[in-house]
């Protein structure tokens, strides 16, 4: 049976994971290994007056003063107006968020190291904390980095003729949206173990990372070492999601301390550290205005996006990746002619922003998808229709959009149609007791008239629609309101040299390399500098090699994560693994297949073009065959069997690969949700959830579905549950899982997934990335469904997570104050 592309091959890595035999950083042991605990700042913003270490702990505690010569983390970018920050691995002079590392303590056990940490005395002079990103933008706000004139890492703006579009518009929809700060909460937190290898004269760093080669580059840069003197090994990694795609200050300080003390040292992040010092992602604010014609066709969008970046710029992706991505991706899958956008990357006294699964798009998708539904309500049409009509049509592919993104292939409206069929939109509308999908504004008696009104007086949303929905949609027998919502996105994946080059980042990915080798025993070895931290890359890379070489995945060994054993790769981020590492393995395996055929042709006494590879054998056209083992043996052990003019390159190939067009290939999907909202408590139950996806060629549909379930689960967390909260002094209020709520199995629906395959014209096998995608759409689908359910109450939620408290507060406010000027009560 084939184990190549498209087959649901069981995951190779599961054999060890299911038997508890995987090896994470926390499982490693070395003689003389000690553990590290950090003293972390208890305040969000303060000047360090002094740090006092009790005499008896001398030699066990290290501070910035000890780390002379170690450079602060500094991520450069060539974007105009960008200000880099200096992020010392142990705080120097000031602390800028609660949880920032101040001192490193070592002891034989973590508990003892924590005992020491408790006794280190910090004398801090509290400074006013900058917590709200909008307040931080105002002149006169306290400054996170005093030497700057303001709190802005970066501002960007793109202009478009919005004002004249507004004049033509039948409806103008204005909204303010907020998304919460979040943690990524991988099952395994960060972890790093550093030791000195005397024989090689190398610092060896075992770290839970997605990007081992980048960490090696970063460590050598900031510690002032030659790269040859550093080896980074990422063993089994228990989830990353972006949290582990940047250089961590702890990776530097633990490495430094291991060199300083000559002792292997390990630090393992605990949950409280993660939930406070790791609260570093997702927090956006939007002011968005959309103009549309009377049928809901978008004419123009104007956006002001503020990203709460936190105190420091992470290396290598900087503080500005998020806002740049947000500004560039807001128009998303929609065919839009006029777009105006300003972005602000704002420094606050919180942990430094790190890209999380979906990078910026969960925020922009939420904002855009709610806006589409608001436009649909304003023109009195079914949101699924308005959505589909606004999407880039298949006939326009490939399509370059208003922000210059080049969409390679796909049928975006078909994904809406698919999700609509799967979720049973008509049945949901019938159950709601609302009229079946409205046939379109023009078919309803009062609409033409209403449109006229709007053309004359382009105002806010139509009151007419609100009145209409108030008459419809009575609660179900249990008092709950049913709603349905859709959300569509397109995701740039595996974007490469041109895109990163334009951002001027310290790293620009180029040709991804992979090595494929036929080993003496006739098995295949694949080496990639990318890494797998749960995505199943160990299996899918083997499937690609299997496809090219005609040998089963059980005879293919994939090695990743060790800079000492793999070719350079910038690593696993941007949903690039399958496209880039997969493409590189494909190319290298193809070359190797050619060499195997040549060698086999000698043994089979035929021409290489008459040899095919299947079942781990090289087969001649006439029926004779030799095994891969025979071929390998001839080259490695019995070269006397080979002719003098044998190809001397051998049976080991390293190739570099990038797609023909390297600006990214676009995966897309539509998610749809049906929810029941309890208007008495504000609680939400997801009754049904579907995904209709297209990521080009599916290498392993089973693994892909797993990625989608996991991504959607995280997206539902974003939609309904997860929120890192702070008080006005910047104290984290959600430092355990009792307060930071993750969705559990009971809260998650049984999702259903369908796929189409629009191959990318630019990549090997037509593959597109899928690792992140499913985390992008859920907030839009779920909150659109909530708003659909709440429309009879004239309540609209525009902030996530949509907690019972937020929903109930909006409902209570609507009851006491009645609808506001445009007929709708919005969440605060």
């Amino acid at each position: 049976m084939s184990t190549g592309i498209g087959v649901r091959v069981p995951r190779k890595e599961d054999a060890r994971h299911l038997a508890g035999k995987a090896r994470f950083v926390g499982d490693l042991s070395f003689p003389r290994l000690w553990e590290v605990a950090f003293v972390r700042s208890p305040l969000a913003h303060a000047r360090i007056r002094s740090i006092t270490v009790p005499e008896r702990h001398a030699g066990r505690v290290f501070t910035a003063r000890d780390m002379e010569g170690v450079r602060p983390i500094r991520a450069e970018s060539s974007l105009p107006t960008y200000k880099p920050s200096d992020y010392p691995p142990l705080a120097r002079g000031k602390v800028r968020f609660a949880g920032e590392c101040v001192a490193l303590c070592i002891a034989p056990t973590r508990a003892e190291a924590e005992d020491i940490a408790e006794e280190v005395i910090l004398d801090l002079e509290a400074l006013p904390a900058v917590i709200d990103s909008l307040a931080a933008r105002r002149p006169g706000a306290p400054r996170v980095h005093e030497e700057w004139g303001d709190n802005l890492f970066l501002t960007t703006s793109v202009d478009g003729d919005f004002e004249s579009a507004r004049k033509r518009a039948a409806v103008v929809v204005e909204r303010e949206y907020r998304t919460a700060r979040q943690c990524m909460a991988p099952m395994e937190g960060k972890a790093v173990l550093a030791r000195h290898d005397e024989r090689k004269g190398q610092l060896v760093v075992y770290t839970s990372t997605q990007v081992p080669h980048l960490i090696r580059t970063g460590l050598s840069q900031f510690l002032g070492l030659d790269q040859a003197d550093v080896r980074v090994i990422a063993p089994d990694v228990g989830g990353g999601f972006g949290y582990k795609c940047v250089l961590q200050p702890e990776e530097i300080s633990v490495s430094w301390a291991a060199m300083r003390t000559g002792r292997p040292l390990r630090w393992v992040e605990d949950r409280r550290e993660h939930l406070t010092a790791g609260a570093n992602t997702r927090q956006h604010h939007y002011r968005l205005t959309a103009c549309a014609d009377g049928r809901g066709r978008l004419l123009a969008v104007d956006a002001e996006i503020t990203v709460d970046v936190g105190a420091y710029s992470v290396w290598p992706f900087t503080a500005c990746l998020e806002a740049s991505q947000a500004g560039g991706n807001l128009p998303g899958p929609y065919a839009l002619d006029v777009y105006r956008c300003k972005t602000f990357s704002v420094a606050t006294n919180k942990p430094g922003f790190t890209p999380y699964r979906g990078v910026a798009r969960p925020g922009v998708c939420f904002a855009m998808e709610l806006t589409i539904d608001a436009v649909a309500r304003a023109v009195g049409r079914e949101p699924a229709d308005v959505r589909a009509e606004n999407l880039v049509p298949a006939s326009a592919m490939p399509y370059t959009n208003v922000t210059g993104k080049h969409y390679d292939s796909g049928d975006y409206p078909a994904s809406v149609a698919g999700a609509r069929r799967m979720i049973g939109l008509d049945a949901v509308r019938a159950r709601q007791g609302r009229s079946p999908p409205l046939p379109g504004g023009a078919d309803r008696p009062d609409t033409a008239h209403a449109r006229q009104d709007h053309a004359e007086r382009p105002a806010r949303d139509s009151r007419r629609v609100d009145a209409m929905s108030a008459r419809q949609g009575s609660p179900g027998p249990d008092g709950r309101l049913i709603g349905v919502g859709f959300s569509t996105f397109t995701e740039q994946t595996a974007h490469g040299t041109r895109v990163f080059g334009a951002w001027g980042l310290p790293l620009v990915p180029g040709y991804e390399q992979a090595t494929v080798k036929l080993a003496p025993s006739g098995t295949v070895e694949v080496r990639s500098g990318n890494h797998s931290f749960g995505q199943g890359l160990e299996t899918t890379l083997a499937q690609i090699a299997s496809e090219q070489l005609g040998i089963g995945v059980d005879r293919i060994r994939v090695t990743m994560g060790d800079t000492g054993e793999t070719p350079y790769s910038t690593g696993a981020y941007a949903s690039r693994g399958m496209v880039m590492a997969g493409g590189a393995v494909s190319k290298a395996a193809e070359s190797l297949a050619g060499r195997i055929r040549k060698h086999a042709a000698h043994l089979l006494q035929t021409g290489a073009d008459r040899v095919s590879l299947t079942g781990g054998q090289a087969n001649a056209a006439g029926g004779a065959s030799v095994s891969f083992e025979d071929v390998a043996r001839a080259w490695y052990l019995r070269p006397d069997q080979l002719p003098d003019d044998v190809d001397t390159q051998g049976l080991e190939v390293t190739e570099g690969y990038k797609p023909e067009v390297d600006t990214g290939v676009f995966t897309y999907a539509t998610h749809a949700a049906v929810v029941a909202v309890d208007p008495a408590t504000g609680s939400v139950e997801i009754l049904d959830y579907v995904l209709f996806e297209d990521c080009g060629r599916r290498v392993n549909p089973m693994i892909l579905e797993g990625q989608s379930y996991g991504g959607a689960a995280q997206g539902i967390g974003t939609a309904l549950f997860e929120e890192s909260l702070y008080d006005e002094n910047g104290q984290p209020l959600t430092s355990t899982f009792a307060d930071y709520v993750l969705p559990g199995p009971v809260e998650l629906p049984a999702m259903r997934i369908e796929h189409t395959e629009s191959l990318s014209p630019y990549t090997r096998h037509g593959i597109k990335g899928i690792g992140e995608g499913a985390a992008i759409a859920p907030a839009g689908a779920v909150v659109n469904a909530i708003n659909d359910a709440l429309s009879p109450l004239n309540v609209e939620i525009n902030e996530i997570p949509a907690t019972p408290r937020r929903i109930l507060a909006a409902i209570l406010a609507a009851k006491t104050s009645g609808p506001n000027e445009d007929g709708r009560r919005r969440s605060p």
């Binding site: 056990t109 973590r110 508990a111 924590e114 005992d115 408790e118 605990d270 949950r271 409280r272 550290e273 008495a680 408590t681 504000g682 609680s683 549950f721 355990t736 009792a738 709520v741 969705p743 559990g744 009971v746 809260e747 907690t803 019972p804 408290r805 109930l808 507060a809 209570l812």
Partner: protein, 300 residues
């Protein structure tokens, strides 16, 4: 997130536990299932010198389902209560309450005694026990004593337990054959601590009725007015009246919290009343639909 250094003693019996507890003095702490104390140790909010583990003390591990009352040992786990056979409304109520606590892994270890001693305002057992009018039994060097749970719990995380004392069991009076119980726990996630709880017991034979609000204010409290109205009419009082009473007794003024608490109480009342079959004329809401249920002077 590692505890401070402490000594550990697994008590072999009640006397052994008392001995170790008293020998260690101030720095000693009892350990039940560790499902509240464990996190507090790891966060170093609790810093004991000695832990005396009573989770396997046989005397604290028994359930005695007598005719008049059910006696549950302090070290009986939530899971054991959940799994017990039920013969009346009290046992059925206890199964329901137990099954709604956290997830099975936590229930396998967490104990009813630990829950009462911890006195988390949102915890389920204290709310149920106040509603059922239960008593808590305590042993110390000076001997044994007992008091109603509602008096034992003084405020959030604060009880009447003196240093050196151990909770041995709780005692819950059985209810009459017509008695009904209603419980409504509102929480963000299955098994999470409650945002609001309503608990209602209506026991016409014993002329006993209690409506309790939990997870608002510092401890679970009986809503006296709501209870009186319910007892007199067998009808749910007006939501606004429930809300006003909660605001007064729990000193809670956040409108969302109050609304949620009133909904929990209202639903608990509905559930208790719904347990009674509608009268034969099918009138579920008319007065007298539940004749025989009303009683003027309820024992609250």
């Amino acid at each position: 997130m590692k505890p401070v250094d402490f000594a550990y003693h697994r008590a072999t019996g009640l006397d052994d536990a008392l001995e170790h507890l008293n020998a260690a003095g101030e720095g000693a702490k009892l350990l039940g299932g560790g499902q509240s104390l464990g996190p507090m140790l790891n966060l170093r909010l609790a810093r004991p010198r000695v832990l005396v583990d009573v989770s396997s003390v046989a005397a604290l591990r028994t359930v005695e389902p007598a005719r008049e009352r059910v006696t549950v040992g302090a070290a009986v786990t939530h899971a054991e209560i959940e799994d017990r056979p039920v013969s009346d409304v009290i046992e059925r109520a206890m199964r329901e309450v137990a099954a709604g606590i956290a997830c099975r892994a936590v229930r396998n270890r967490g104990t009813i005694g630990g829950s009462v001693a911890h006195a988390d305002p949102s915890a389920d057992w204290p709310i149920f026990l106040v509603c059922a009018g239960a008593r808590v039994y305590i042993r110390g060097a000076a001997g044994a004593r007992a008091l109603p749970v509602t008096d034992f719990i003084r405020a959030a995380y604060t009880t009447d337990l003196a240093p050196g004392e151990i909770i041995t069991h709780v005692e819950i009076a059985r209810a009459g054959g017509q008695a009904r119980f209603g419980f409504c726990k509102l929480c963000r996630k299955a098994g999470e601590f409650a945002e609001a709880v309503g608990a209602v017991l209506i026991d016409p034979e014993r002329r006993c009725c209690r409506v309790v609000t939990g997870a608002v204010g510092p401890k679970p409290v009986v809503l006296a007015d709501t209870t009186r109205t319910l007892a007199a009419t067998a009808m749910p009082p007006e939501p606004d009246a429930i809300r006003a009473e909660i605001a007064a007794v729990a000193n809670e003024h956040d409108p969302v919290k109050l609304h949620t608490a009133a909904v929990a109480v209202g639903r608990a009342i509905d559930r208790a009343l719904a347990a009674y079959a509608p009268s034969h004329d099918g009138d579920r809401s008319g007065s007298g639909a539940r004749t025989g249920l009303t009683f003027q002077s309820a024992d609250i």
